[in-house]
Each structure stands twice: as structure tokens, then as C-alpha cells.
Amino acid sequence: MSFFDTHLLNVVIYLPLVFAALVLALPASEHGQVRTITFVGMLLDLVFGVWAYFRFDPSGAEFQMEYRVPWFQQFGMSYHLGVDGLAVSLLLLTVFLGPLVVLASTTYIQHRIKEFHLALLVLQTTMLGALASMDVLLFYIFFEAMLIPMYLMVGVWGAEDRRMAAVKFFLYTLVGSLLMLVAIVAVYFISGGPGVRSFDYGTLYNNLLAANQQLAACSNGPEGACAGLTGLAATLHTYGPWMFAAFALAFAIKVPMWPVHTWLPDAHVQAPVAGSMILAGVMLKMGTYGFWRFAIPLFPVAAHAARPFLAVLAVIGIVYGALMCLAQRDIKKLIAYSSVSHLGYCMLGLLAVTGEGATGSAYQMLNHGISTGALFLLFGFLYERRHTRLMSDYGGIAKVMPVFTAAFVIITFSSVAVPGTNGFIGEFLVLMGTFKSTLPLGFGAFATLGVILGAAYMLWMVQKVFFGSITHRENQHLRDMNVREMLTTAPFIVLVAVMGLMPQPFLDRIAPSTDRYVARASVGAPGATQAKDDQLRVEVMSLPSTAAAARPSVPAAPLAVRE
């Protein structure tokens, strides 16, 4: 067992990569074997992921299952893994989607099957790696690397405009994250002198903490009180807003927040069903997760200053996304814009900086992964039968596909937050948190308007597609879901019900992380009750000393001159 004590996260992360190597060794014509091996790999990864989820002790340390070894140490990096409650929940979501995505692609993907499954497995590794990274640069590497398989997935197996969508997706995300890279390196340098600084999340955060508290104290004071700051606090006062802006831009593009969301409808519409599921299910969460883990706790003062602005963007995203949905005729585009709206709730919950808001936001991240993932999945089944995305080409589907319709409606309920489904818990908590927060009442009000609009566009779409009379001859003989499709859908429906009726086991794991998030984000807020330092400080394992670390430094040898 001792192997898994230290290596469980490594196993979860790299198992898909090992199976990718197996797939690579297979001949490309063995389609069945490629699919089977990928599925087995994802299933096995699910087993380990679930194990990790249950190993996580909500009453234990903040970061658990840590693993840390020296890696490129001279430049302040180490290979450091670890998960807190939110990360382990998102990790569970990722491994949960893995096997289902493979099942969803068995008939959808018909060419270049081996490459497709390779991309899926590599993508899984990069996403899990990003979630478990405790070193900021390691996170960045996984964060960037996950673009490559997703880019190929959209570009190779996508719909008609796939190349444009793939390049747009890649470049959009790249610009944001490159600026973040500059900010990461900059914050590393300001955080301490040689020997003190590190790219490790714990060290970085703890090094900045005192300065952030100092800065918060003076920025809540009278005008000009910050002029007397020295050292790190002064540096943060001057450059903190810029660095926060760089982090926020990178993650806002990923979320995506209005107005940098324009890559999303294209990527979602063009992506194959597996790509859409992963994109909506996991990759968008990297944005909110980034705000939660990095952008806001590292720069609480700048984040607090930018909070009204970001909250306005989040609310615009909620309402704008919903209005765009109402205007869509393309079903996939509608689901894509609904993501913009839903992720707006996640952002609003984060920015509320209340316990309810943060919990709701975290829960909503999981919910959105399940409900939107399932919507894309189900629409994929429909698309395989009819090869059209236009609502007007459907109508009366319920008559020929009753089981499918039932499943779709259940997921729709989850998406529009009907009580009893998981969506209700998340959205309710976010709204409650927003109303309780220091944000003006209007934010909550507009967000609630978004809920109503959300119900409107989803039900309107369901009505047009599934109910009424069959208006198209082609739709008269569509076959209902087969066993494979039912098996793929069932886990989603089970989770919708379980998470809606028994949220507590899930919330238990998120709770300690939310408390800490709220404490850390409140550092920048005026009049916040000062949380205890042991709540604020990040405790992580220290780097094991090694021969390389203990190596004596080499003195500068003078130039030997020979006569």
C-alpha cells in the first residue's frame, strides 16, 4: 500500500498516458481494440480517481496526497502534486467523464480512430495534471499542454468550420496564458530573494501573505496611506494590479467571461461530441479554478478592487448568455451560450466572497460539468441520427424517441435548476451568497433574472425539438436510444438525482476549501473579520532534501593564465 500512499495522484494522472502508449503500439486498423483499451484505461482511472476522492479526508490537512520531488530546482521549480477539496472534486468529475466520453464516441468518430483515442488519453492526463499541480509553473505547463490535444480534437474531428474554430480557440487561450506566464515569473521574483522564492504555490502564497495584509490595511485607510509602504508591500501596491490583470485575463478567457467568450461558441459548435463534453465539462472549470486557486488568493487587494468590475462582467455574462440562447436556432450553439451563462454564476459566486457563494460556485462547477456534458452527449446522439443542428429540423421527437426525450428533459431540469436536481443546490447557494455579500443588491437581482431566462430558453428549446407534431418526414422513423447510449446517459442521470437529493457528501469535501478561500479572498476586503493566520497560511510538504539540493555551490574560479 505504501506505493499508493505516495503515488496515488501520479497514478491517476499518468495512467491515461500509459494506456496511450498501449494504444500507440496497436495497429491503426484495430478499431475495436483501440476503443476497448482506451475505455479500460479510463475506467481504471475512474477507479483510482474515486479512491483518491474517498481517501481525501475533509477534516484533515488542506492539501492531501501530496507528492514532491526536486525538478528544475535551480529555477525555483519542483514537481509538486497535491489536492484540496475543490481540486479533488474536479478531479472526480474529470475521471467520471473519461469513460463516458469514450462510449459517446464509439459511433460518432469514424475516421482516424487511433489518433482520436490517443488525443483523448493525453488530454485526460494534462487536465488531471493541471488540477493536481501545486507548483505554479507545473500548473502552467499542464494548462498549456492541454490545448494541444483539444486543438487537434476540434480541428481534425470537428464539423465543417473546424480549422478556423481550432485555431481561434488555441490562439485566444494562448495570448491570455502567455501574459499570465510573465505575471507568474514576475510574482516569483518579487516574492523573495534567491533561496527564499519558489514557484511552489505554498511558498509563493505565504511569502506574499504579510505584504498583502499590510497593503490591505493601508488601502482601506485614508487616501495616500499606502505611500509609506516599503519592500514587498510597496511592490505589490504598484505592480499587483497588473499581475492580477494578467492572471485574470488568462482565466477569464478560459472561463469564458463576457466579452472574451467569443471563441467558445465556435469551438463548441465545431467540436465533436467528445470534445464538447470535455470542453464544457472540465476545461472551462480550469478558468474558475484558476481564479479560486491563484488569481484571487495571491492578489487579494487587487482582486478586491477589481471585484465590482469582474462581478459586472459575470452578470453581463449571465444575462447576455441567456439572451443569446433565446436568439439561437442552432442547438449546439444554444448549449454553448448556456455555458457562458452558467459559468457567470460560478464567477459571481466566487466574487461574492461569502461561504454560500463560494460553496455554490464550487458546486455549480461540478453541476455544469454534469448537466452540460450530458446535454452535449445527448445532442450528439440526435446529431448522429439526423446530421443537423437546427432546431427547425426537429419537432415532435418525443413521439418516436420517448426514452431519449425523458433523459433530455431530466438533464434540462438540472440545467435550469429545478428543485430536486443538483443545479438547484448550486444556483440557490450562489444567489443566496450574492444577496448576503457586500455586492449591491442589483447583482443578485440580475442574476435571478438570468435564472428565469435560463428556464425560458431551455424549455423553449425542448418544446420546439421534442413536443408538438412531427413536421419533418425524416423524423418519423428515428430509432430510440440503444443500450450503449442508455448506459452512457444513465450515470449522468443518477448523479443529477444523487447530487440534488444528497448534496452533503459532496459539500463536505468542498467545505474546508471554501472556508479557506473566503478567508484568503477577504484579506483584501475592508472590515473583514481578520481570519487567523493558520487558516490563511498554506501548509504544504517541504521539498525532500537530496544530493542535488545539498550540493555545495561552486566558487567562481579566476581565469588561469598560462605563461
Partner: protein, 519 residues
Amino acid sequence: MNLPNLTLADFLPMLPAIIMVVAASVLLLSEVFLSATASRGYQAVLTVVAAVASGAVAVGLMFEPPQEVFLGFGVLDPFSSFLTLVVSVGLGLAALSAVGFLRKRGAERGEFYALMLFASAGMSLLAMSSEFITIFVNIEVLSIATYALTAYLRRGTRPSEAGFKYFILGAFSSAVLLYGTALLYGATGTTKLNDIAGPLQQALTTSPALVYVGAVLIAAGFAFKVAAVPFHMWTPDVYEGAPTPVTALMSAGVKAAAFASLVRVFVTVGKGMDPKLPLMLFATLALLTMVAGNLMAIPQRNVKRMLAYSSIAHAGYLLLGVAALFVAAPGEHFRLLSASSLSGGTPLDVARSDALRGILYYLLAYTFSAAGAFAMVSALERREDEEKGTAWDLERFAGLAQRRPGWAFAMAAFMLSLGGIPPTVGFMSKLLIFQAAIDVGLVGLTVVAVLSSAAGAYYYLRVVVYMFMHPVPEGAQPLERNWGTEAALVIATVAVVLLGILPGHVTDWLAQAGTLFGQ
């Protein structure tokens, strides 16, 4: 007259260059005894063996203490040894990709490899040279060999056009460099870099114009050689016209050697003068080169030409690292502390030695990525298309992932590495340079660098789009395989991925070498 007292120990540091020259001589001599139809397969093998041997010797020399050789005309230090390693890597990969290239054209001759070896010997020696005349001579050794290589394929108009253009502009830039050297000599009375700092400070009070004009002219001469904007005009045409393996050697080796010499000259000259001048000079060059190089590469449909512009852009990132070497605190006496960053010094000292290490790592990274990419280009081109200019069109990459998945994967790795996307070596090396630049405070310039590299990602990705997302064109000719290209691709791909994931080994090694720079 006293004859200089040279011992065997003076020749040991030159061993890599000696190996290359001996191999070149063997190739030339053996060619005399061969009939026109004799098999010449051994020539590439011999070249690769020489490259491996000189690379291995260079690695061994990295752990020698820094020392003057040839009475101060050269310096053996880890900096020059690492550069020799980079040159050997470039030579080896270029020679491997030349195997199939020459065979397709029926142009296998010993001279080709001999010229490559001579050029590489010049590069290796240039990295060691610490005296202006020696620098000039070595620049000429490597340049003349590359002029000849550029025009090696005499059929058609392109090679001669490229060769002629390269020759005229190369000769012009050498003259500019020489003129600058002459001015500095006039001001200081010495051509040895190790003696110049003191006289230079005196000369700055008596005849500052001479010093500054001299320094600027020298910088301009080097800017030609490294293809920095606005001295880049020759690059696209020459890179496109030259035989592709030669282009690989030029983009990897010539650039690396020129950068090495530029750094060596200005670090010493900078000691004597206000480092603001080199800082301004290189920061401006870096800015122009990064932005213009990337922007001009975007519209290119010709992959070889695109890679030429990309090589300009990469010179820009390297110049950013060079500029970082010259950031000094107000009133600080400029010096380059080149010991490992573990051993103290002021924070700026540490940052500057990180920049130096970043430059070296970047050169190695670029050599693997670019030489690999050019090997791929040479594998795909056909002789018949060269005159039409479509030999390197993006269309030739269409559907490569279906025709040769391994090649497409390798090329994708090179493109991502050149674009600086993790987990490739291109990302790590960019990170090192950017990190050093931010550390010394060149944040604005670094932001420009990352934005321009985002623009750069567009044209690198386009190759990937064609390889993976476009269908195989109708009537595509079968792709020939040969051991040289395959070997070059495998080696470069493994290096690009491995050095990206485990960069620590090389950088630790650079740190272990202690003093990088022997001054």
C-alpha cells in the same frame, strides 16, 4: 624575435575543431581516389562520427577550468565548450538530413560534407576567440565555407542567386565589423579582448566618439550575422535558396557562433564603457527583431521561407537575453558574474548569469527544433519543384499525418517547440530567457516578446493544421524514406521532448560547470 612558446596543452582546447578539420581533410583526400560512380555512403557517416566526437570532447572540456589559450587569442571556458556542443549538434543533424537530399539530386560529393565540417570548425573556434583579428578570421572561415555551400547545387538560378546575395552582404557585414574593430584598435591600441577594458576606459575620456562608433559598427556587423532586424534582408532569400541541409546548418550553427562571439565581445567591451549603450542597442534590436520577424512570417505560405523569418524572430528572443546581460544598477561597475547562481553575488549578478545560461540553453533548444524542422522540409521537397517555387508550399504538408504519422508527430513537436508551447524544449528555453529578463527589470520588453510569440504561434500552428487537418492531396507522390532523415528526426524529436520535460539535467550541468565565462 621571441617565438611564442606553444605546448600541446594549447591545442587541447581546439580538439573539437581539429577533429572536424581532420575529418574534412580525409573526405577531400578520399574523394580524389573515388570514381564518379563509387558509393559515397561513408561520407555522411564520417561527418556524423566527427560531429559526435567533437561534441563529446566539448562536453568533457566544459569541466576544465577557464583558461587562456594561444597567448590570450582564445579562451577556453564552459561557454565556448557548450557552444561547440551546439555547433556539433547542428552539424550532425544537418549532415544526417543531407544524406537523402544529396542522393535525390545525385550530388553526393565529399566536398559538401568537407565544407560543412570546415564551417563548423570555424564556428567552434569563433566561440573561443577573444581577439579581434582571430574573430574576424574565424568569421571568414565559417562564412566562406557557407557561401560555397549555399551555391553548391549549381543547377538553376536560385542557388547562385542565394550564394551571390549571401556573399555580397556577408562580405559587406564583415567589412563593417572590421572597420569597427579598427576604430576600437585605434582608440585602445590593443585587439585582445582581455586587455581592452582598461585602455577603453581611458579612451572614453580622450576620444569617446571613436569608441562608440566602433562599438556600434561591431554590433551592426554581428547583427548582420545573426539576422537581426533591420539587418535581416538577406535571410529569407538565402535560407530559401540554399540547399535545405545547409539552411539547417546556417540557422543553427552560424547563428549560435555569431551570438557567442557577440556576447563575448560586448561583455568585455561593456566593462570599459557605460553598459547603457549596449543595453539600448540590444534592447532596440530585440524589439524590432521579435516583432518584425514574427509579423513577416505570418503571411508566408512557403514553409522554408517561413522558417527563415522564424529564425529572425528567434534571434529577437535571444537578443532579449543579450540585452538582459547589460542591465546594471545605477553606478554599478559592470561585470558579469558567471558562477552558478547558487554562489551568491548581488541579485543582478545572479540574474545576469541566469540570462547567460538562458541564452546557451536557448541556442541548444533552437538548434534541435530548427534543424529537425529543416530535416523535415528537406525530406518532403522534390527536385523538380524547386524552380517553380512550390517545393516548400504548405500544401506539401497536407495530410502528412495520414501518410507518415511519425513524421507528422515529429514536425508537430518541432513547430510547438519553436512556438514555445509546453512541454517542449522551446517553452523551457523561452521561460529561462523571459525569467532572466523579468528579473533584471526588462518587463515591458518581455511582454512584447510573449505577445509576439503568441502571434508566432499562428504560423507554426498552420503547419500543424495542414499536417493533421487537411486531406491528402490527390496524386501525391510517395514519400521516400532514408536512414539519414529518419535518424535526424528521431534524435531531434527525442531531444525536443526530453529537454522540455527534464531541463534540469542540462541546466544543472551548466551550473556545475561553475564559471561560464572565462574573464
